[in-house]
Symmetry: C2
DNA sequence: CGCGCGGTTGAGCGGGTTCAAATAAAGTGG
DNA sequence: CCACTTTATTTGAACCCGCTCAACCGCGCG
């Protein structure tokens, strides 16, 4: 993975939180920027009905804190024991003056630039449960996967209910679809918080088109996703948004 | 409504598009910022399956062009005949130097700061069809409604299918729920592109709690399909994200 | 050991979809 | 302005995916 956007010299302070504790809550003063050092953060919104909606997960290296990734709109909670570096708005102001181009990249990332947020909306709007989960696991594989040989091992930082609240479904359905993917030999479940991607191509096909490409197996016609060839997935650059705006 | 963020002196050029024509498409060069002058723009994503997902509608005064509101992630198309002002990245660069604080507000708006994007995700994830539509119409009322007496008249710039693609449902369901709201005497349908809100309180209650709660408050609170009503602040400014970051 | 939490699995139901047809509105050209 | 076509909306009926409710399993821990 590339070097982190923020270096230790930029940072104001470090924050640690145990599982399920907030780094900030909706309504907190805004303007600071955060970078995940270790663990996993979920950006979420609670409803009075007790419903939770996870807009996004942030993994080590990810930056958040502005817009839909900031305290005006969401809470940020530790999925598991996590550490986060914080750049206060004074520090950001300093960076804007000394290194404006880099500062804009940081700002873009903090708005959610590291992920394709629109993909998420498309998925939870239209995709059937199987495809949603395939999309999520495929992304996780690209993001957190550790290749050993030609197999990809992935640690799941979050529990089923977190995934469910991220994909707009129930944890029972997550569980069912997960075992379905296992039965299809697409993944192996290695304990509750780990899995292995056995057939990455099949998983990706499911994620993108909603069905297993040319090969057989129970295929579902309703396809959703853009058929972008193998390479980049959610993994788009997107950091470049304002990258070319030179300030001096 | 407040004065527009961008003044004529800022702007590079004006663009007009007839219905269903793009202002930009996914993958176009980015960095420019757009402000709606008249009409209505939809920010959307297409899928190979022919499915369309409308992430957001932009009305006169709204600013878009960055992040999930920019060409890296979505297309921008005219819902109806529309006019848009454009501020190229050179102009933005100039503004960043001459009026950094205002430039940051513009940037925040262009990322989607004028709307609560996270609300949209919550709605399409969990809310039932009736509540989704109530939420949408209630928002439209606040945004585009024209009060005459104690009644609120609203022009619908978009067709049912646009609404459906925004709320993650089919246009048939939109139509059904619309007539259901009419039968409940909550709205009146005045032709295809106009309606009147007869009972704003009931509509809001539906939008917020998912049911016609006994009572409600004048300001907007939020919750998804909960039986208990609660009054929190709403309509967060959100433009203020970086507003307090003074550059000089 | 018993308790609790997280996860899996099963049965049944219902909201929203799909398919299909009818109706209404908006163009279009003469 | 009217006949005609096209597009948009309404409405109906049947189906099915995912939800709800509920039981059960497995593991960690006091």
């Amino acid at each position: 993975m590339a070097k982190p956007l923020l270096q230790t010299s930029d940072l104001d302070l470090y924050l640690s939180r145990p599982r399920n504790r907030p780094f900030f809550s909706e309504g907190d003063p805004s303007g600071a920027i955060y970078q995940v050092e270790s663990g996993c953060i979920r950006l979420q919104k609670m409803t009075e009905g007790g419903r939770r909606c996870v807009l996004s997960f942030c993994y080590p290296g990810d930056v958040f804190g502005l817009g839909t990734h900031g305290p005006e709109q969401v809470d940020a909670e530790a999925v598991c024991s996590s550490r986060v570096a914080r750049l206060g708005h004074l520090g950001l102001q300093r960076m804007l003056q000394s290194e404006p181009a880099r500062a804009m990249k940081v700002i873009d990332a903090a708005y959610g630039g590291q992920e394709a947020g629109s993909e998420h909306v498309v998925m939870i709007s239209f995709a059937p449960a199987e495809q949603k989960l395939a999309w999520f696991l495929d992304n996780l594989g690209h993001r957190l996967g550790q290749s050993i040989g030609d197999e990809l091992f992935v640690d799941l930082p979050m529990m089923r209910a977190d995934i469910a609240d991220h994909l707009g479904m129930t944890f029972e359905t997550v569980s069912r679809e997960m075992t379905k993917l296992r039965d299809l030999q697409i993944i192996d479940l290695l304990g509750l918080r780990k899995f292995k991607i056995r057939r990455a191509a099949a998983l990706q096909s499911l994620a993108l088109t909603g069905s297993l490409g040319a090969k057989l197996c129970s295929s579902r016609s309703r396809s959703i996703q853009s058929r972008r060839e193998s390479s980049r997935m959610a993994r788009g650059p997107s950091l470049a948004t304002l990258g070319h705006i030179r300030l001096h």
